[in-house]
Symmetry: C2
Subunit: 141 residues, 2 copies
Amino acid sequence: MEAGSDVDVCAKWSETLRVYHNTSCELENELQSRHELGLSEFEVLLILGRTCGDQAGGKAKMKDIEAEMYLSQSALSRTVTRLEKAGLVTRAACDFDRRANFLMLTPSGRERFEAAKPTHRAVLVKHLTDPGSSKRAEACS
Amino acid sequence: MEAGSDVDVCAKWSETLRVYHNTSCELENELQSRHELGLSEFEVLLILGRTCGDQAGGKAKMKDIEAEMYLSQSALSRTVTRLEKAGLVTRAACDFDRRANFLMLTPSGRERFEAAKPTHRAVLVKHLTDPGSSKRAEACS
DNA sequence: TGACATCCAATGCGCGTGCATGTAAGTTTC
DNA sequence: GAAACTTACATGCACGCGCATTGGATGTCA
C-alpha cells in the first residue's frame, strides 16, 4: 500500500456506496411498481432465465442459485416461496437426490421476467454509464 | 449507447454487487465483533468525527447527518437512539430551532470511534485494492 | 446393519430498514 | 395574530434479511 492509498480507498468505497444505493433503490422501486417484483425475486428469475437459454422452463437447483447470488440460504428459500405463491416458479423434487429441489420457471414466470428485463437493463444503463454519473441522488423512493 | 454496452453494464453491476456485498459484510462483522458497532452506527460516528476535525466533541445536526448517508430519516433516528443508549453520543437541543437536534460525540464515543477506525480502514484496503480483488467470497459471516 | 457425520431446504426468531403517520416547532399569508 | 403550511424528529407497522435450529435424505465406516 503506497502513500495516499487511504484516501483512494475511502473515495472508492464512497463511490461504490453511492452507485450501489442509487442503483438498487431505483431497481427495487421500478421493478416493484411496474412488475410487482422485488429485486431478489427478479434476480432469481434472472438466473433461471439464464440457466436455460431463452426457451421454455428454466431449471436450476436451489444450491446452485444460492451460489450465484448474495443471499443467505434462508432468504433464498423464502424468496422462492414468494415467487411460488405468485405462480412464477415451481419447486420440483430431484429424482436422484431427494434432499435437493429443482426450480422451474412457469410460463407466466417467463412472461413476467421478459417484461421486466428491459426495465432492469434501463436502470442499469442509467446509473452505470459514466456521463451522468454525477451527484447524490435524492433519497430512495 | 453504443453496441456492447449491455454486456458492459451488466458486468459492471455484477462487479459492484460483488464488491459491495463482500466489503459491507466484512465491515459489519469486524466492527461488530471487535468494537460492538454496527455499520450504520460506525458511519454516524465517522461523520461526527469528521465534523469537528480531531479534537473533542463532534457536533452535527441530524438533518445534516442524514444528508450525508444512505439511510432514511427514521433509520437514522433509531441508529442514534442505539448510540445514545450505548453512551457514545448525546442528543442536545438546538437553541435557535427547537425542532432540531444536535448530536455530540461523548469522550467514550470518540474513544470507541478511534479504536474502530483502523479496523474499518483495513477492511476497505483489503477489498478495494486491485491485486487480490479476485473471486467470490464465501458467504457472509 | 447400525451409528454417526454431512448435506439440503424450511422455519422460529430477532433485528434493522423504509414508509406512513404523529407531534411539536417554525414559517408564511392574510 | 390566527390559520394553513412546512420542517425536524420520533414511532407504529410490515417486511426482508441473517443466524441458529430442525427434520429429513445421503453418505460413510465399522
